[in-house]
Symmetry: C2
Subunit: 467 residues, 2 copies
């Protein structure tokens, strides 16, 4: 890629190469050696796991607006600085501030007996009155079933019990087929005359741990509380309903939404040697739900990004363009950090690409590569660099909630893909803790991020422009 | 593959297709549908995890010759029968019978204080005298270093402390670089005049759990006891030696080898519809060390094989050739089951291929395919059937301890390859328990075994014959 300016037309898109004459490229064999150095250093003495352990111990609950999120922002800044990364700074952003509050309980009341039901409020939910809500239950599998139920829903707690389709190989596809119950269950319950929404947790794992996650209200529809119950809890409730369809459930939640709060994205860099104003963004999100420790979601993505820079710095590898790690705030319930980052004015800067890691710290498999076909072809040529660690499965299509606003502005987006069969066992729940993360698998993700970001920062990517 | 007899010459090897005219082949699209049915059935309602849970609860310790191994053999027979598999039977084999015994302890004696050291005898080791062995310690990194130490080794406990090379991507390569200390440390210690061998556990995971495994003596060299200590224990001992090179370690082991004991391989089948005398062997080993539950090593391989047959049976899929699941006895310390299976006379039978699963119940990635290039090419054509579950990474070279004796007789061997970064965290230790196994990852291994064994049983493999 030593042409001064390379223009070609591919699928009707004009591709302009950013490469300029005089930028020296070591060729694939040189890059193979660099990738091997990065790999060996990471596997031998990488710090991804100790960084993640530190984050999980310092700020296990990092929901936007919380004290934990403040601690996490300070942790990010301190960590970047202690590792000697460059231009470390915070970019302020106002974020939603929802709090769970001290009360969160539910019971099945059947034949005069109370059977406790483990429950957790969904993020954004209103609370119940202090005395709780006690009502009969209507169990439905879908919004269509609820809408067809007519007056039967009135005054009831609506229990959305559609399970993950386990027969799908992709857990994300199964999640996609179920998650509207969590996001819109409360609105649909209110429309049908219901008084609250209970939602089967977004997981295929059978245990008694409820999983939280975002929900939303819409203008013009009353706000009723919404909470998740575990898979075991859902089974217990269905069983109890089979014995007495008129049993009642009592639900008490103290959650509420407070005024927006100040927070920040955290940035640190390895400044490019030749084109410092051209930026490769790598990142994950620093906020997480107030359950577990956010170890996989998304502490892993944060330390993937930090460790990628640390590895390059330790090895004295400084690419031509700048690599900037961004720990985004507020992915879980607002995306304010991602939006603020993309909206900020940084005169003279050009964002070459953005790589997000938000699928956990599992064994990495490859990257989803967005942007043009030419971008995919360019990245595809680097697959041999990732083959020795078996992270060379490249697929079309890169996305990520935090880099979504950058992608919308035309920046090629990439996503680190990892093994995902275990992801929803832990997601948004007390199960998402550091002991579920394997040190070497986590480090390999960081190594993959280091190699990919280095290659983009060194070689650039073709830029697609409308003719 | 509808030719009556297909002969071609490839790399100087004559390839004779086993396919006969009249055997109908549904073509790749038909096979894709069959593979999809197997996948959906397994993911929706597979039994691999519940089978493994049952095995781990019934017979967590299944070392050859033990009561646990007897229970495991009975479990295997009962399980095959309860699932309706065919020609269920035991094939007897005499196996080594080593027992750990009740006493297994060690301490560092430093400045009059005793610091306990978690220890476990290596399989096959002799015990110590009842009063134990108390001696100074010589720490070495290699046999070369030990041999060069001359008189310094005499009367000492030799501590083999060479760590896994963490910088290697393949944990099996790191294991290969360290495991001679476990296998031959006692012999080398005795040759140097040492009184016992302590070996750093075969893992890269830093915890206080020692890992056992096989060791051996040789004729003409005295037998000294050998035991493993954990990584934390090894660090503690090195640290203590840095303070006092003349500290002593006390080691007490009550292990011993008893006379060979009767045991058995367990067999069950799905009998072929057209060529029942042609056999595809699939299997794992039923024995395991007496630590943990042998969940990954190799309960997983056993249930991969059982579940593969169960899935085919549930779906009414009966291939032309017979698929035989073999739960091999005594992989860990003798391979007697694998040898007996291969040596047995079964008149009229032809073994078409043998597929072993002995790398754990982690996310499957593909198969190692042994035999000829033509075999690899034939199997390679089926990769699209495994692509939807991302188990289509096929590499040359199939092996397996249990199927080794079959491979030595010319049978093409295949091995199920799975993610292996976590394997040695658990291997041969108290860490290898059912909670370390993910239900869906385990089931996907069984699905991959079902698809591969079905394809071989339906299509056959080219047979390489010397011209």
């Amino acid at each position: 890629m030593n042409n001064f300016l390379r223009i070609c037309i591919f699928s009707g898109i004009v591709i302009v190469s950013l490469e300029a004459r005089g930028d020296e490229s070591p060729g694939l064999s040189g890059y193979l050696e660099t990738a091997s150095r990065i790999t060996k250093a990471g596997l031998r003495s990488g710090k991804a796991y100790s960084l993640l352990s530190d984050l999980c111990a310092t700020a296990p609950h990092r929901l936007s607006g919380s004290e934990g999120a403040k601690k996490a922002v300070e942790w990010g800044r301190r960590t970047f600085e202690s590792l000697g990364l460059e231009r470390v700074r915070l970019e302020p952003v106002m974020v939603p501030h929802w709090v769970r509050g001290p009360v969160e309980e539910a019971s099945i009341i059947l034949a005069g007996e109370r059977v406790p039901l483990r429950v957790c409020a969904l993020g954004g939910s209103v609370g119940t009155p202090a005395a709780g809500i006690t009502a009969e239950v209507l169990v439905v599998q879908s919004f269509e079933e609820l809408r067809a139920s007519g007056e039967k829903a009135r005054g009831k707690i609506i229990f959305f019990n559609r399970a993950f389709d386990r027969s799908l190989f992709s857990p994300f596809a199964a999640y996609g087929g179920a998650v509207n119950q969590r996001g819109a269950g409360a609105v649909e319950a209110a429309r049908a005359g219901g008084v609250a929404a209970l939602v089967r947790s977004m997981t295929a794992r059978r245990d008694d741990v409820p999983h939280t996650g975002g929900m939303r209200y819409v203008n013009g529809v009353g706000q009723v509380p919404a909470a998740a119950i575990s898979i075991v809890g859902a089974e217990r409730l269905v069983d109890a309903l089979s014995r007495d369809p008129h049993l009642k459930v009592e639900l008490k939640l103290s959650c509420e939404t407070l005024p927006d709060a100040p927070s920040a994205n955290v940035l640190g860099e390895l400044v490019g040697s030749a084109r410092p104003h051209e930026i490769v963004v790598i990142g994950g999100h620093l906020d997480c739900w107030d359950k577990g420790q956010g170890a996989h979601d998304d502490g892993a993505g944060c330390v993937h990004s930090i460790e990628a820079l640390r590895l390059l710095k330790e090895l004295g590898i400084r690419p031509k363009r700048t690599i900037r790690a961004v720990l985004f705030m507020n992915e879980e319930n607002g995306t304010r950090g991602g939006e603020a980052y993309a909206a900020a004015s940084r005169p003279g800067e050009l964002t070459v690409a953005a790589i997000e890691s938000d699928a956990g710290g599992f064994m990495p498999r490859g990257f989803g590569v967005g942007g043009s076909v030419a971008t995919f072809d360019a990245v595809g040529k680097w697959a041999p660099l990732l083959a020795p660690i078996e992270v060379n499965h490249l697929v079309r299509g890169g996305h990520g909630v935090d880099i979504g606003p950058l992608i919308a502005k035309g920046v090629p987006g990439l996503g680190l893909n990892v093994d995902n069969q275990r992801y929803f066992d832990y997601h948004h729940s007390d199960n998402d803790t550091i002991d579920k993360v394997n040190e070497r698998e986590l480090e390999l993700g960081a190594i993959a991020m280091a190699i990919m970001s280095y290659m983009i920062a060194e070689e650039g990517l073709p830029v697609a422009a409308k003719p």
